[in-house]
């Protein structure tokens, strides 16, 4: 994976370099086309001739890039001649050209493949086998006896239908969560969570269909292209390399293009590079990197103003965006932790099903059963063992959590990522925007030899520093006047801090600061006309005021006096000393410091009518009066320190990765708690002990600040060492590529890594991470596409709430699975007893499906709403390999304890039904052959009654229904005990989770409908049973509850004991 990523990262660079050498020479389009091909063919091999060249090159590739280029040029010149003669592009029709050069469409994984994947994953294979066995069984039956019943055909079809419907459902859920991205902030619609009826399935099918149709007809833009020596408008997906297109303001760039002529062209590159400022484009080659150079515009970016003529150099999958999209699909195979867990679980269940199936097949055959019968037993065992509804339940559970997370500003794209976030053990976070507010804010002021603190909270409301000094009056005037930033008009009702400002980050900060401090800045500016040299507002004072701001040391150079308490004083060495101390102090905490000075111009030299000229500088540029310093920082979000503390206590390591300066990074890290107050870096210790850095014991330093330069020279082992030895790490001045290295380093530590990012360059790291988190506001589309999750508010604190939800869902999935697995034993035992003891079959295959896909569905979803038993944010993240979703205690306890109790409870009902109708337990033993013989219509029971075949069948169905109802009744007890794993139900609160009761009600209602409503439909094998049969299994249900309370009590009483280890799942 790594090599893939690197290759792709390198690809545009090579392409760019190639462009530089080749494009300027090219002035004839066909020739140029051909050369372009040559350049790109290194990776893309679009054309056969070129492939040949490549093969020849192949051997030389190892000699290094430069060498290769030279060789290729030589080779190329020879080939060039040949190929120009070979050329047939002029003869081709446009359609042929399109096929030759590829159209401008980014390929996606076809929906149908995604859909089919859902049909064969998980248990589906097992059920397909079941269905096919059914049909085979019918085939054999039919060949023996033409009139044999169609039961097996029905069962096979039902199994196939189950697989298809669960597949459709899972696909729909996936599609829905992917679809959220297109309608970005829209939450998952409420509907169809409580499905179970045919109606809902119809809705889903139509939904899938609609989605599929929608996905097919994606927005096609059109573009202006010069073809056949005239301007034509064609759909952008018909563009080919070498097309000349015209782009004007407002257009989307239709492909990757090389600009040929421009007029004031500016593009919005935010979708590719994450730069939010409009980027000017021209025809000049300005940078080695194709991402930086001005003469390239990228597919899917928007031209904001101006016009340009450009040549298409990359289309479809070969565009930068396309490459990232295909990279994204290539890296996809890495499985999410929950996918691994579910696979593990499927393996366990399938293993149990297949082995029991085969064992009993052999037993059945050796007991002289007919092979056909043995096959039918096998089907029953498979159906009983496979929790058909579980995967759909898990999907719904995950999407419910995804919905809950979306409300908390974590938009999950990939459902499985919901849980990944919960098992996260390292978060590599960006600084700007994620940990900080992403706006420069005035943090400190220095005037009158004193440092004042300004309020940096989100609303700036609480400015408490002393504003009585006359120096402040002057300083605030300079801040207000010496600033070109302006508020956009029409924002009167918006709070100051949220207003949109035209101007750079520092000036914006100053503008907002002065607006907060002084009120209407624009008005003040109006009253003090002209920029930087101002008339004053005092009508008596005819002097001009000249103000200046800039880097403090440069400003100080121009000053001869300094203002203290409103009085100008000569600037001596002691005041300069004080200035330097303050400057260093503010700079040392990572803030951007600006100096401010002013000068009142004497009226005799500069009368009111004096005309200033910037060109000739007919005004003084020195001997200013220094007024003060002002420092700015991008302050941390107020919620972040708490969130970082929470991560700490949750055992999650937070690593800051930023492109910013180490000092700033460290300052922010300290202020948000990523580096805690009392921990030191190696450098800090060295400074404190006055030792050279090399002599400090690295083990003593908890914190580390590593720069990109250091990282570059590090071996993977050294990086591992740093990651393992320091608990608080800040990476500063790193490139997006290095982010990938850091992520890989973290993953080598067996950690589940979450990474935040916004630019296109971040997308490899986002992909590589176990969970990539893109920024909803600042993020580029590519980053959002590569990510598994989008933070709608760009706020780090939202990640922590996401972690909490993720951990909760893992716990609750355990409960759901335990609940679902339990009844499998009660479904399986009937078949085993049937084979071995020859009883009439206690429960039918179809009936089992009604439990798995009917009564049990809503209760198992209801467990997802269960609250945490204890503070889940106070425990360590789960270990990927040790803390399994389905562990041995869970399987054993569910199967062999509760499951067995359920089976016994259901059998009591079964025996009761048979005994009360005439067949005592002793009679039905080994009765199977006679019982199932169609020609025996006078089978005598314990009371001497004789039963016809159909009467026996009807009794058998009554048995099925009673068995079904018993399992359902005991599943209610099972549902209640699964609410907690450690605490007593009474500690958790029996009625706190209302959905559980909805689930219980649904179970009872579905069973009532099946027995009394559909009891007359023969094919379903339900009958109207006597009401008292509903209560026969109640003692066993109570036993289940009591037994589990005892289990939990011992777990709480003896933590860490043998009992705890074996009975806590």
């Amino acid at each position: 994976m790594l090599t893939q990523t690197r290759e792709v990262a390198a690809e545009p660079e090579e392409g760019g370099a190639g462009l530089k050498t080749h494009l300027p020479r090219a002035n004839v389009v066909p020739l140029l086309l051909f050369q372009k091909r040559e350049v790109y063919s290194v990776e893309l091999s679009g054309i056969k001739d070129i492939e040949k060249t490549d093969k020849e090159d192949g051997k030389e590739k190892s000699r290094g890039l430069k060498n290769k280029c030279l060789e290729r040029k030589k080779n190329h010149q020879k080939e060039e001649l040949k190929k120009e003669l070979d050329m047939d592009d002029h003869k081709l029709s446009k359609e042929e050209l399109e096929t030759k050069y590829g159209t401008n469409i980014i390929t996606e994984t076809p929906e149908i493949i995604k859909f089919l994947k859902q049909m064969v994953g998980g248990f589906s294979i097992l059920l397909w086998i079941g269905a096919i066995l059914c049909w085979i069984a019918y085939g054999i039956q039919y060949s023996h006896d033409q009139s044999s019943s169609l039961d097996n055909v029905y069962l096979g079809s039902v199994l196939a239908l189950v697989v298809i419907l669960t597949g459709v459902f899972a696909y729909y859920q996936e599609a829905k969560s992917t679809n959220i991205m297109s309608s970005f902030q829209k939450m998952i619609p409420q509907a169809s969570v409580y499905l179970g009826s045919v109606l809902a399935l119809v809705v889903i099918l139509t939904g899938v269909f609609a989605y599929y149709q929608e996905a097919k007809s994606t927005n096609i833009m059109s573009t202006l292209v010069i073809r056949d020596s005239e301007k034509k408008t064609i759909p952008a997906d018909q563009l080919v390399m070498g097309d000349i297109v015209e782009i004007k303001g407002g257009d989307q760039v239709p492909a990757d293009v090389r600009l040929l002529s421009t007029q004031g062209c500016k593009v919005d590159n935010s979708s590719v590079t994450g730069e939010s400022e409009p980027q000017a484009r021209s025809c000049e080659f300005t940078h080695e990197s194709p991402l930086e150079t001005k003469n390239i515009a990228f597919f899917s970016t928007t031209c904001l103003e101006g016009t340009a003529t450009a040549m298409v150099i990359n289309t479809g999958d070969r565009t930068i965006i396309g490459q990232i999209a295909s990279l994204a699909s290539r890296v996809e195979d890495s499985k999410t932790p929950i996918a691994i867990e579910i696979e593990h679980f499927v393996h366990i269940v399938a293993g149990v099903a297949v082995s029991i199936g085969i064992i009993f097949f052999i037993i059945a055959v050796s007991m002289k059963y007919h092979v056909l019968d043995s096959i039918i037993f096998l089907i029953g065992i498979i159906v009983a063992n496979v929790p058909e509804g579980l995967l759909a339940t898990v999907t719904v559970t995950l999407s419910l959590t995804a919905k809950r997370m979306a409300k908390k500003n974590c938009l999950v794209k990939n459902l499985e990522a919901v849980e990944t976030l919960g098992s996260t053990s390292i978060i590599c976070s960006d600084k700007t925007g994620t940990l900080t507010q992403n706006r420069m804010t005035v943090a400190h002021l220095w005037f009158d030899h004193q440092i004042f603190v300004a309020d940096t909270s989100e609303n700036h409301s609480n400015q408490v520093f002393d504003q009585s000094s006359a120096t402040w009056a002057s300083l605030s005037k300079i801040i207000t006047l010496c600033n070109r930033a302006e508020f956009r008009p029409g924002q009167e009702s918006i709070p100051i801090m949220k207003k949109i400002v035209v101007g750079d980050a520092s000036e914006t900060a100053l503008l907002k600061f002065s607006e907060v401090m002084l009120g209407n800045v624009m008005d003040i500016r109006k009253r003090n006309r002209k920029l930087s040299i101002h008339e004053t507002e005092d009508p008596d004072d005819k002097r001009f005021l000249m103000v200046m701001k800039g880097a403090p040391e440069r400003i100080l150079e121009k000053c001869s006096t300094i203002m203290v308490n409103g009085q100008e004083q000569p600037l001596d060495s002691s005041t300069a000393e004080a200035f330097h101390t303050a400057y260093m102090e503010l700079g040392g905490i990572g803030e951007r410091v600006l100096g401010f000075c002013h000068l009142y111009l004497p009226t005799d030299e500069f009368p009111e009518t004096y005309s200033f000229d910037v060109e000739t500088m007919n005004f003084p540029t020195s001997n200013f009066c220094f007024v003060g310093l002002l420092s700015m920082i991008d302050p941390p979000r107020s919620t972040v320190p708490d969130a970082v503390t929470k991560c700490r206590s949750a055992g999650i390591k937070v690593i800051m990765v930023t492109g910013d300066h180490p000092i700033t990074a460290k300052a922010i890290a300290k202020s948000v708690g990523i580096i805690s107050a009392n921990s030191e870096t190696v450098e800090d210790i060295a400074k404190r002990l006055n030792l050279p850095v090399e002599q400090v014991n690295k083990q003593d330093a908890k914190a580390a600040v590593v720069t990109g330069m250091e990282l570059k020279d590090m071996s993977p082992e050294q990086l591992d060492e740093i990651l393992a030895n320091h608990s608080e790490i800040v990476f500063a001045r790193t490139s997006p590529q290095q982010k990938l290295i850091i992520v890989e380093g973290c993953q080598r530590q067996d950690a589940v890594v979450a990474v935040t990012g916004d630019g296109v360059n971040d997308s490899p790291a986002l992909k590589k991470a176990d969970i990539g988190i893109a920024m909803g506001i600042a993020g580029s589309d590519a980053a959002r596409n590569a990510a598994d999750m989008v933070l709608l508010d760009d706020n780090f604190a939202s990640i922590v709430t996401g972690v909490e939800e993720g951990r909760l869902i893992f716990d609750n999935l355990k409960k759901t699975i335990a609940y679902t697995l339990t009844k499998n034993i009660a479904e399986l035992c009937p078949f085993l007893i049937y084979i071995i003891a020859g009883l009439p079959l206690p429960i039918g295959t179809i009936t089992i499906l009604f439990i798995d896909l009917g009564t049990d569905i809503i209760p198992s979803i209801a467990l997802a709403y269960e609250k945490a038993e204890s503070d889940i944010m106070n425990r360590k993240p789960r270990h990927k390999k040790k803390d399994r979703l389905v562990n041995a205690p869970l399987a054993l306890y569910s199967y062999l304890h509760i499951g067995l109790m359920q089976a016994l409870g259901a059998f009591i009902t079964y025996f009761t039904v048979y005994a009360q109708h005439g067949f005592l337990p002793s009679t039905i033993l080994n009765l199977r052959v006679e019982w199932e013989n169609d020609n025996v219509n006078d089978l005598e029971d314990s009371y001497g009654q004789e039963w016809t075949r159909y009467q026996r069948k009807y009794l058998e169905w009554t048995g099925y229904t009673a068995f079904f109802v018993s399992i359902m009744i005991q599943q209610i007890a099972d549902l209640i005990i699964r609410k907690t794993r450690r605490n007593s139900i009474f500690q958790q609160g029996l009625f706190r989770n209302k959905i559980i009761w909805v689930g219980i009600a649904s179970q009872i209602i579905i069973a009532l409908i099946l027995s009394y409503g559909l009891g007359s439909i023969q094919a379903l094998n339900f009958t109207m049973i006597r009401p008292q049969y509903w209560f026969v299994a109640v003692p066993h249900a109570v036993l289940i509850w009591v037994y589990d309370e005892v289990r939990k009590l011992f777990i709480r009483l003896f933590p860490g004991s043998w009992w705890d280890k074996n009975m806590y799942y």
């Binding site: 304890h897 067995l900 109790m901 016994l904 059998f907 009591i908 025996f911 009761t912 005994a915 009360q916 109708h917 005439g918 005592l920 337990p921 169609d934 020609n935 219509n937 006078d938 009371y943 001497g944 009654q945 004789e946 039963w947 016809t948 075949r949 159909y950 009467q951 009807y954 009794l955 009554t958 023969q1018 006597r1026 026969v1032 003692p1035 066993h1036 036993l1039 043998w1058 074996n1062």
Partner: protein
């Protein structure tokens, strides 16, 4: 490493082995004991509920009769192949039934015993084998005689219980509820 050290090391190793061994056996023992107690209890519980259920039953009177509301009919002797009887002329055996009519158009003449096709009320109802030990099932014998000139010596016979509106004979699913249909073929 001195000799003593080695000895100590060996000793501690052995101690460890013993400890681990103990732990494992102890743990396995505990598991076995626990399983024994657990399943023993479960078995006892199951037996108890089963016993309680059986106590509610009456040996003499069946709890629910509703599953067999009407008597079924069957043919004796048991046919070899589903309800087809064939005879050869040399064999002179006869068969039984109630209210029988020859269904298919055939030349066969049907006669029954008892001849009036009535069965004494003493046969109904049946109180179960404990209370009604000497009960004998009602039988109807039928006799078919084919005309000697008939080409097809074959007849479908349907027997039905008649005379009480409570007795069901028309269940689509149950071909033996209050009726039975069979075919008799005579070979030359």
């Amino acid at each position: 490493m001195t000799k003593e050290d080695k000895k100590f090391f060996n000793q501690s190793l052995a101690e460890w082995k013993l400890f681990i061994y103990n732990r494992i056996t102890k743990s396995w023992g505990l598991i076995l004991l626990f399983q024994l107690v657990c399943y023993g209890f479960l078995a006892a519980f199951f037996s108890f509920t089963m016993w309680t259920m059986l106590q509610t039953l009456n040996d003499e009177v069946l709890k629910y009769h509703d599953q067999i509301p009407s008597p079924g009919l069957t043919v004796f002797p048991k046919p070899v192949l589903a309800l087809n009887f064939s005879f050869s002329l040399s064999d002179s055996e006869s068969c039984q039934g109630i209210d029988c009519i020859a269904k298919s158009a055939s030349t066969a003449v049907l006669s029954t015993y008892p001849p009036n096709e009535k069965i004494d009320l003493k046969y109904f109802p049946y109180y179960g084998k404990k209370l009604h030990g000497s009960y004998l099932q009602p039988l109807v014998a039928i006799q078919l005689s084919f005309g000697s000139d008939a080409d097809i010596k074959e007849a479908m016979v349907e027997c039905k219980i008649d005379g009480s509106p409570n007795l069901k004979t028309q269940n689509d699913h149950d071909k033996f509820l209050g009726r039975v249909t069979f075919k008799i073929t005579m070979h030359a």
